[in-house]
C-alpha cells in the first residue's frame, strides 16, 4: 500500500523539532532513516498527522572520541558506524554488529538512534548499547537528561523516551574486553532468531569479567547477569545459569524452548571462541 496522508516538517534545529513535537502531540512522528517507520506507514500500521523529518539537525550527527570512550550522534547511519575507525578501536562490538543489520541499502539510510528508539527486541544495536553500558542523551521540553541503556529498553518497541522527547546521542564507554557477537537468522540480513552481543575480559584463557546480552529471545535486549557471573566458574555453569536470565518468547521462527536452547549454543560458541583466541 501507499503511506496515508500526513503533514510534513523539516526543522533545522533541535529546539524547533522539540517545539513541533510538543505542539502536535500524539499525532507526531519523527523520521530519521525511515527504514522501520516507512514500512509501518506503507502498511498503514501508523497514521501520523505530522511527520517531523530530523535529518537536518546537525546536533544529532557525528562520531567523536571522548576521554572515556565514544559519543555517537543519533543520526549516524549504520554504514558510517561500521566504517568508523574510532568505533572499531574503542567499541569493536558495534563494528562487529553492523554487517548483521539488514542489507547494504538499509544500512546506508538507517540510523543508530532510530534503531535504539525503535527498540525492536531482535535488533542488534539495542543489545550492543546495553552490553557496552551506553548512556543515552535525551532532549525534551525541560532540557536534557541521560538514561542508561539498561533502563531505556522497556519492551517490544517500548522505551523510556517520552512522546515529546528526542534521542540526541549515546555516550559509550570504551569496550573493556574482547568482542562477543553471534547471531542466528534464517537468511543473511533477517532479524535474529537469537543473538548474543557482549564482551569478555580474559586473563590468559580464563574469563575474569564479562557482560552477555541476548537479543531476539525476550521482549527486549536482556543482560544475562547470572550467566555472565558464572563464566568465571565454567562455561557449563554459565550455560545453566542462563535459564535464570532469560524469559524467551516464541515467534514465527522458533518456540521459547528452542530460543532458550539457541541462546545456550551462542553463549558456548562465543565464549569458547574468545578463550581459544586469547590462548
Amino acid at each position: 500500500m501507499k503511506a496515508p496522508p500526513f503533514r510534513y516538517a523539516r526543522p533545522q534545529t533541535l529546539d524547533a523539532a522539540l517545539r513541533l513535537l510538543a505542539d502536535e502531540g500524539a499525532g507526531a512522528r519523527l523520521i530519521a532513516g525511515g527504514q522501520s517507520l516507512v514500512p509501518a506507514l506503507n502498511m498503514r500500521l501508523l497514521e501520523p498527522t505530522l511527520l517531523i523529518d530530523i535529518n537536518g539537525l546537525a546536533e544529532l550527527t557525528g562520531i567523536a572520541e571522548t576521554a572515556s570512550g565514544i559519543r555517537v550522534g543519533a543520526l549516524t547511519r549504520h554504514a558510517a558506524l561500521g566504517a568508523s575507525a574510532i568505533v572499531a578501536r574503542r567499541t569493536p562490538l558495534l563494528a562487529a554488529a553492523v554487517p548483521f543489520i539488514a542489507h547494504e541499502a538499509i544500512r546506508n539510510r538507517g540510523t543508530f538512534g532510530g534503531s535504539l528508539a525503535q527498540a525492536d527486541p531482535a535488533a542488534e544495536l539495542p543489545a550492543c548499547a546495553v552490553a557496552l553500558g551506553a548512556r543515552l542523551e535525551i532532549a525534551g521540553p525541560g532540557g536534557r537528561r541521560r538514561v542508561a541503556a539498561h533502563d531505556f529498553f522497556r519492551g517490544v518497541y517500548e522505551t523510556a523516551l517520552g512522546r515529546d522527547e528526542i534521542l540526541v546521542a549515546a555516550e559509550i564507554p570504551a569496550q573493556p574486553g574482547a568482542t562477543l557477537f553471534l547471531e542466528l537468522a534464517r537468511r543473511q540480513g533477517d532479524y535474529a532468531i537469537a543473538g548474543l552481543a557482549g564482551w569478555a575480559a580474559l586473563d590468559r584463557s580464563r574469563i575474569t569479567d564479562a557482560r552477555l546480552v541476548f537479543f531476539g529471545t525476550d521482549i527486549r535486549a536482556v543482560e544475562a547477569r547470572a550467566a555472565s557471573a558464572a563464566l568465571a566458574t565454567s562455561l557449563d555453569a554459565a550455560a545453566t545459569a542462563l535459564d535464570r536470565d532469560l524469559a524467551p518468547v516464541a515467534d514465527l521462527n522458533a518456540s521459547a524452548a528452542m530460543k532458550r536452547h539457541l541462546a545456550r549454543v551462542l553463549l558456548r560458541r562465543a565464549c569458547a571462541a574468545a578463550v581459544t583466541h586469547a590462548a
Binding site: 500526513f6 510534513y8 537536518g56
Partner: protein, 173 residues
C-alpha cells in the same frame, strides 16, 4: 538526503511542495505531496519505470536506486525528503555505461528470467563490486541477500556477478 533548502514551514497533507533534485544527471523540479514515495515519483512523474514496486515495505529490493551514490530502497523514502539530492536509477546507470559489464554478464549467464528483480540486482551487484572487486561466492550471496528473485534464479545471478568481477579486473589497466 535533503539539503534543507525547503523553507521551515510545515506542509499540509494536500500541499504541493516544490522540490529540486538531480535524477540521472538531469536537474528536475516538481511539485509533490508529502506522502509521495520516491518510486511513484520516478515512475509517475518522470516516466522512469525501470525502478519497480513490489513489496512496498523494504523487503524485496525491486525498487533499489542510488541516493547520493549510496544504494537505497526507493520505497522507504519520500520524494519530499530528497530536495537537493542526487538520485540515479537503472536508466541513468545503463546510459552512462556504469553497469555495462554486469549487464553483459547477466545476459551471457541468462541471469534474467522474468526480469522484474533485475534492475535492483544489477545495482546491488555493482555496489558490491565497487567496494569489493574480488568477492567470493559467499560474499556475492550476502550482498544480494536483500534482493529477491521470485523466479529463484539465484545461481545464474551469482555466476553472472562473479563473471562481471573477472571482466572488470581484466579491463582494469
Amino acid at each position: 538526503m535533503g539539503r534543507g533548502r525547503l523553507p521551515r514551514a510545515t506542509f499540509g497533507m494536500s500541499d504541493a511542495v516544490a522540490i529540486r533534485l538531480t535524477v540521472n544527471g538531469a536537474r528536475v523540479e516538481r511539485l509533490v505531496a508529502p506522502r509521495l514515495n520516491l518510486v511513484d515519483f520516478l515512475r509517475d512523474e518522470l516516466g522512469l519505470t525501470g525502478t519497480h514496486w513490489s513489496c512496498e515495505h523494504g523487503a524485496c529490493g525491486a525498487c533499489t536506486v542510488l541516493i547520493d551514490g549510496a544504494l537505497a530502497r526507493g520505497c522507504l523514502v519520500f520524494a519530499i525528503q530528497l530536495d537537493g539530492a542526487n538520485v540515479e536509477t537503472i536508466e541513468g546507470l545503463t546510459e552512462s555505461g556504469a553497469l555495462a559489464e554486469v549487464q553483459a554478464a547477466f545476459h551471457a549467464r541468462n541471469a534474467v528470467q522474468c526480469g522484474f528483480c533485475s534492475a535492483g540486482m544489477l545495482l546491488a551487484a555493482d555496489a558490491l563490486l565497487r567496494r569489493n572487486p574480488e568477492p567470493s561466492r559467499e560474499q556475492i550471496r550476502a550482498a544480494l541477500s536483500g534482493n529477491y528473485c521470485r523466479c529463484t534464479g539465484y545461481h545464474a545471478i551469482v555466476d553472472a556477478v562473479a563473471d562481471a568481477a573477472r571482466e572488470r579486473a581484466r579491463r582494469k589497466p
